[in-house]
Point group: C2
Chain length 333, copies 2
């Protein structure tokens, strides 16, 4: 087996990507070292030939593809976990369900500057990046075989980044990821019993409170009430919307500030920790949902997650979110 597959675990309903050609032998499983040399960085301007050919780049219209002078640049991943070259194929394997590894895996270089990051780039750059995520999702939505797309970023080796230069990724698949699927059913149950979106309730409950790190007209940044990880942060839009890519640009204004404040506070408090962020947005195939509400989750990678937590899903968090929030707030003063 070489082609990637999506397989469903029948005991909990979770889809897993089995991507064999990413490493077969035990010795291949070591995490790759982070590529940090600026001189050899494949994401720096001038090294465009070191990446797959670009899908899009923000820059002057006169600019030739795969040359410098871009502001953000997108290409397919060199090591895709899913691919459009796979035909979409669903089948049962006895009692099991699987799909071919059909999908899209894109890499977005967030900035041409090697040293820049979400915490330090100009807000206009970050805003353009956010709108680029939106427009990519909008493009991917046009493919009826893609049910869902995730926007995410890893910073630092411990968070899974293999290249230092600030970048984000999009993976679009015919399956809805486990955590979002569960949020949707939980949100549905909540809505049925209370006629309200759980995220709207959280926003109303938390605003200005001891777990509210930051807010502006459109967004709040909170330490969630029951976080899996120390210093976990969520960015929630105040206006209800299930699909990030269907949110008006004007309603996205302020997301750049919210994002940057969140990451700055983490960097100052925790000394540039490794972290990951993920967008949770409703599946493309769903119409606008009253019971789902897109948001970003930012997870610093500070302590080892023990096997107990892997195995049971019962997380132990040694930093109450109220304590985390008060510490993070200090750093923004």
């Amino acid at each position: 087996m070489n082609a990637p597959e999506l397989r469903r675990n029948p005991t909990d309903g979770r889809w897993v990507i089995v991507s064999a050609d990413r490493g077969k032998r035990p010795s291949d499983l070591k995490s790759a070292a982070v590529q940090s040399q600026k001189e050899s960085c494949p994401f720096c301007p001038g090294n465009e030939n070191k990446t797959p050919s670009e899908i899009f780049a923000a820059g002057d219209t006169a600019r030739a593809p795969n040359t410098p002078e871009w502001r953000e640049r997108i290409f397919y991943s060199l090591n895709p976990v899913v691919s459009l070259e796979e035909e979409l194929d669903r089948q049962g394997e006895g009692m099991f369900d699987m799909m071919s590894g059909f999908g899209v895996h894109e890499v977005i270089v967030n900035t041409p500057l090697h040293e820049d990051s979400i915490a330090t780039m100009p807000l206009e750059q970050l805003n353009e990046l956010i709108l680029l995520w939106k427009s990519r999702l909008h493009k991917l939505r046009a493919n009826p075989n893609l049910k869902f797309a995730m926007v995410f970023g890893n910073r630092g080796e411990k968070a899974g980044a293999t290249i230092e230069h600030s970048h984000s990724q999009i993976i679009a698949t015919p399956a809805v990821p486990y955590r979002v699927a569960i949020e949707i059913t939980t949100g549905y149950d909540y809505f049925i019993s209370r006629e309200k979106c759980v995220f709207c309730d959280i926003f109303e409950n938390e605003i200005g409170g001891e777990r509210c790190l930051w807010e502006n007209g459109n967004f709040i940044v909170i330490c969630p009430y029951a976080p899996r990880f120390p210093y976990e942060l969520w960015i929630i839009p105040k206006r209800h919307s299930s699909h990030f890519d269907e949110t008006e640009d004007s309603d996205l204004a302020g997301l750049a500030s919210a994002f940057q404040s969140a990451v700055k506070a983490l960097n100052k408090t925790l000394n540039d920790p490794p972290y990951s962020f993920v967008l949770h947005s409703a599946p493309f195939i769903e119409k606008r949902m009253v019971h789902y509400h897109w948001h970003f989750e930012i997870m610093p990678r500070l302590s080892n997650v023990a096997g107990f937590e892997w195995g049971t899903g019962f997380y132990i968090n040694s930093v109450p979110p109220e304590v985390a929030c008060s510490t993070l707030k200090e750093s923004l003063k």
Copy 2:
């Protein structure tokens, strides 16, 4: 806040243990180094005074408590995440649900021999350890406020072990852990549509197949069809039973061999990898369930889990279970 709390995240229903006194400041979050010196090992015979007073130890009836000459030894954790000293208290905090950190956290030293491990100890020792887990759960079940107990073990620093000497742990709480709760509802749905237990179906489907690593009269060890982690293994009893602690001793015969074969294969193939194991068993408060089936999951900790996987629950596994199984099988020849 100092007392531990169980908090429920309203967006996915997951309970999280917020245990503040395990470390409040960012600098406290570093993983502790593994205590590996045999001379100072608190779990070695002769150092009984370095642990909390024992609850039970298997040994000669004439033996005085907290002295050497035991075969397995149990005490409350020095750093408990939950405690019987907390009163059980459930309450809403606005829209949120929480419980006091009521519960039990026990540590079991698996063997008096510092160098021994599940992979190397005599089978009689491992069998006694397994029966000890069962009898502890049976004891804990008598407390009507405890809904669930997890038996688990971490081996190696990367898997979360802070002491090298082979040990296991039990955490009992008034909440059912997330993954088990979801397995139960998924198993229920499966049963409703097919009148069969999903684990019984897996066992019948996998026995003798390319994902079946090992079997004896009572147990099979498989690489599951859609594993989250490379080389993940499950040990499933052939005879249907929802509660580990209600399984007859005679039906547990052979579990020691199954466990040891699984861990031996991992050790040989992956050069003594860090790993964790967890027992999934039905909650105490449930009667025998036709749609749930206890089992052990063993997860080697080989590669970093990237933020993408944290954030979405969509795991990428670079080793197909068929490949893992064939490699592991070689090592048992």
